[in-house]
Symmetry: C2
Subunit: 254 residues, 2 copies
């Protein structure tokens, strides 16, 4: 059905469980009957899965409707805080945001995508919690690009093949050759810019967070083009990010 790469070596029950979880998430408040219809299973089967999940707190029933349970938050919080970059970079996040006055972000990559681990927006212009915890494609994002630039070429190829290079704006890099040039530029300079490639009217700079020769994440500052111009990205903001990245690199190495 949805996931196919499992082939014959996966566990089908797990697949259905994940489908149910995803359907509960999408619905946010849904009954057994409707849920069963959404995942193409018998009511009884869905009910069994839900009961099991309920016993473990992954799902709760509020006014007759199933919702994801806080156990997910528990596991999620654990997962975030055990990312080495997270604890290493968290203090810097706060500082950079308040010093520069612009939104500041921490990202990691996994499976060819990046995720915002956390962010601060001193101006409260951006809903930080809407972005934190969400996946982004790497090619249209300063953090993603700076991470890509530090991966092996074979990995980059895999990622491009798997996720493509979709256009977010008309500035987005959409072909492999241009991407490679850009990544080369990033490697030379040691930082990545994003000039309206992800969102119109949004610029950003990112530096890599490196531990033992491998990229563990990226730190970036982003803001509207009228405040965050290219010169500022490559000047004040970059300086601040680089200083933080050096510190973080040290603390990652212990």
């Amino acid at each position: 059905m949805a996931g196919n790469s499992a082939g014959g070596r996966g566990v089908k029950s797990d697949e259905t469980l994940f489908a149910i979880i995803e359907a509960v998430r999408e619905a946010d408040g849904i009954g057994v009957t409707e849920l069963a219809a959404n995942v193409n299973l018998a009511k009884s089967s869905v009910h069994k899965h839900l009961s099991t999940m309920r016993d473990h707190g992954f799902v709760v029933k509020r006014n007759g409707e199933y919702h994801l349970g806080l156990e997910f938050f528990s596991y999620g919080q654990y997962t975030r805080t055990t990312q080495d970059v997270y604890s290493a970079a968290l203090p810097a996040l706060e500082e950079i945001a308040s010093e520069t006055g612009e939104s500041t972000w921490l990202m990691t990559h996994e499976n060819g995508q990046v995720m915002y681990l956390d962010g601060r927006d001193p101006n409260d212009e951006i809903n930080v919690n809407a972005l934190v915890g969400s996946w982004e494609e790497m090619h249209a994002n300063s953090g993603g690009k700076v991470i890509l630039a530090h991966l092996r070429e074979s990995e980059v190829n895999e990622i491009v093949e798997r996720h493509g290079l979709s256009a977010k704006t008309d500035e987005t890099i959409t072909d492999r050759a241009t991407l490679e040039e850009e990544l080369e530029r990033v490697r030379e300079r040691g930082y990545a810019l994003n000039l309206g490639e992800g969102l119109r009217e949004m610029n950003a700079v990112a530096v890599p967070l490196i531990s033992q020769e491998s990229v563990e994440g990226a730190l970036s500052v982003a803001g509207p083009t009228y405040r965050v111009k290219r010169e500022r990205c490559e000047g004040e903001l970059l300086d601040r990010l680089r200083a933080a990245a050096d510190d973080i690199g040290l603390s990652l190495a212990y």
Copy 2:
């Protein structure tokens, strides 16, 4: 095994999946063989589950070891931000923490336990991220008590039966009768105190967050007994909490 309440109406594969997830969490970096031993399953079975999870990002392999994947963080973040109290109370959290100078907490309950949804500690004395996302028993916690006080008696009984009244310190309430007196007192006053009942040398006050007659959570301030004395709890801190709770109650009602 671990979860038994499922009886015959649960899905056994899901139980094993959850066991594997939990084992991966506990180990934080573990191979198939060791994992299989920890959950008492054949290597091949564990491997199949891990493959399926990997396809969905719930698990990742880093240097030959399995870890929980950021997909958990994604679901967790979603779960937290869709809790109505969370977005309603988040701004207040920040404000109260900076105004009072003491650690401030937001909790909700689920399945007879409370969880810290978020917290702020202006003094950086407490590792906030270690508490956020963790479950706590309700009876030894100001937030837990104030929530308990607003539940139906049958619910309180269930909770006490299920989770007991374990002693955290020698001030902890450990019998049902004393708890009932305390809850009655909390209902009369409209707030709950915690005077060294959870941790020695730690006091706290909490107020309930109520929406349409039902408790959705609690807001609390906590600190070391030498700074956060009972008088301060029932004075300045309580005033601040009550003001915030009123606002939040309104915004919960839209």
